[in-house]
Symmetry: C2
Subunit: 309 residues, 2 copies
């Protein structure tokens, strides 16, 4: 069985949308990535850190999805990373109300022995030095390293971010972040510039407008499924990344054709994530739900035109 | 041969984009629709009006594309409709600098005898009363009536717009206009409300984010081709509508499957339109250019996932 190592935050989120608000609930990049990847029945592990205030039931939820949590350090006297955000009416823009790094501030990740030879490494959103540290602990070159990041690190740790970007095969990044990283408005030009920074594959996530996959001169696009309403976008990008990484780990095929399907799986899983607050929908997702929605994606995008040339 | 009747403005545009600016050049909804539809070798005619200031060479350009221009009234003592716009850096927003209705203000459309039995009627952007008047002149019920409109008529002639919307089979409308017409943010909900206003098929154009086709419980999506740069978006929506209408006229098949292909053709033609100012690119477009780009659309969107159910 293919091994997937996931790095990223495991956190508390407090979310307010036009549909309601939550107290502190389970969140974090690695949480969403792990829940999405767990759909592929992999040998997956999370490397992260939480405080003594983190409920056991949240860790058990991950463990019950067959995710190895031995790499989630619990700092008894510390507090768990906390993020709070307010979504506006269009659900495309949000204000960050609070970011409390807490135990993340001094996090030294330790990759469990059994996962130092993982086939796929998914570096979810965290300080680029933490992402680099995880890579340096691998005893075998992974078949595929995927990196997700965000504008916060471009603002605060750009040199370190460039260092880790050099070392990865795939980057997943949202459209505004791709523009910020490259100073280019055109996503086609931005993707080319990011290729030059290292990654052979560039995935640009456009939220409700879908996702683009670039590799050399090839480009593939997957829309987001048109939904009646997006209830809570939190975690959708991480869920996309988790579906993408999970599919590729399972398929053990990192060709462009396989990556196209990974993008479709990522989009499919993200379309569930936004239906409820936080991890609510992802916790209770079944294979037949996914198969049904993959069929919807096919209906949404596939056509049959005869070409004369 | 299938007959296509096109109604809409034939106009002067003056355009400024981050890449440059033009004097008064050939523009207008019917112009872009006609140029796009002419790719399908149809028996097409335009109903419109211009002033005595309109150059013969512009009319000849349309005639040379085998478009019947006998329904374009020339008001010798009048001035041609003029629109001027300034696009911002992101190319997604623009300011209208001038709108001079001129001869459009008193336009009474006359459908040429030979086109009163057209199979397909494409009602391009114009006053809803003009669109209704054209429909009332048809001596045979058209197989398909397609309507395009814009926010200007929602602001200024909403009742008349609702009257003509009742009578059409397909509406093409952009995302912001769909939201304005229905007071719904979700495009899925907006499309359902527009269905209830009359049209069985609803096409929502999202500019650089592609287009959605809704029919009963079916939805199809076509992205816009990712381009290095969009030079001038003027006419892209009309070119989309012209490609859509032209394909369906040629195919003589108005099933959902056929409409999906019409959306792909519309998107393909629109991707050329934005490459140069005004009609510059559409004037010199060849069948092999189109076939090549249709192949790019296929590469961009088609995937092959085996489903278990």
């Amino acid at each position: 069985m293919s091994k997937l190592l996931i790095v990223g935050t495991v956190a508390f989120d407090a979310i307010e949308t036009p549909f309601g608000k939550t107290d502190k609930i389970l969140g974090g990049a690695a949480t969403f990535i792990g829940l999405a990847a767990s759909q592929f029945n992999l040998d997956a592990a999370i490397v992260s850190v939480v405080g003594g205030d983190f409920p056991d039931e949240y860790l058990e939820l991950l463990a019950n999805k067959d995710i190895d949590i031995s790499g989630i350090e619990v700092v008894k006297e510390g507090k768990t990373f906390f993020w709070s955000g307010l979504y506006h009416n269009d659900m495309n823009s949000r204000d960050t109300l609070a970011t409390e790094l807490n135990v993340l501030a001094d996090f030294n990740p330790v990759v469990p022995k059994g996962y130092q030879d993982s086939d796929v490494v998914m570096l979810g959103n965290l300080h680029p030095l933490v992402q680099s540290s995880v890579l340096s602990q691998m005893t075998k070159k992974p078949k595929l390293v995927i990196l997700d990041t965000m504008n916060f690190w471009m603002d605060n740790a750009l040199d370190e971010l460039h260092e880790v970007i050099k070392k990865v095969d795939v980057i997943t990044i949202n459209d505004e972040e791709a523009r910020q990283l490259t100073n280019e408005y055109s996503l086609v030009v931005a993707a080319r510039k990011i290729h030059q920074m290292g990654p052979k594959y560039v995935v640009i996530k456009k939220g409700e407008h879908g996702a683009l996959l670039f590799h050399e001169d090839n480009v593939f696009f997957a829309p987001a499924l048109p939904l009646e309403e997006v209830f809570d976008p939190t975690g959708a990008g991480d869920t996309f990344a988790g579906g993408f990484a999970g599919f590729l780990s399972k398929a053990q095929d990192i060709s462009f054709e396989s990556m196209k399907n990974a993008v479709i799986y990522g989009s499919t899983l993200a379309s569930f994530c936004v239906e409820k607050f936080g991890t609510e929908r992802m916790k209770n997702l079944h294979e037949n739900d996914i198969q049904k929605r993959l069929q919807e994606f096919r209906n949404l995008t596939q056509f049959d035109i005869e070409l004369s040339s």
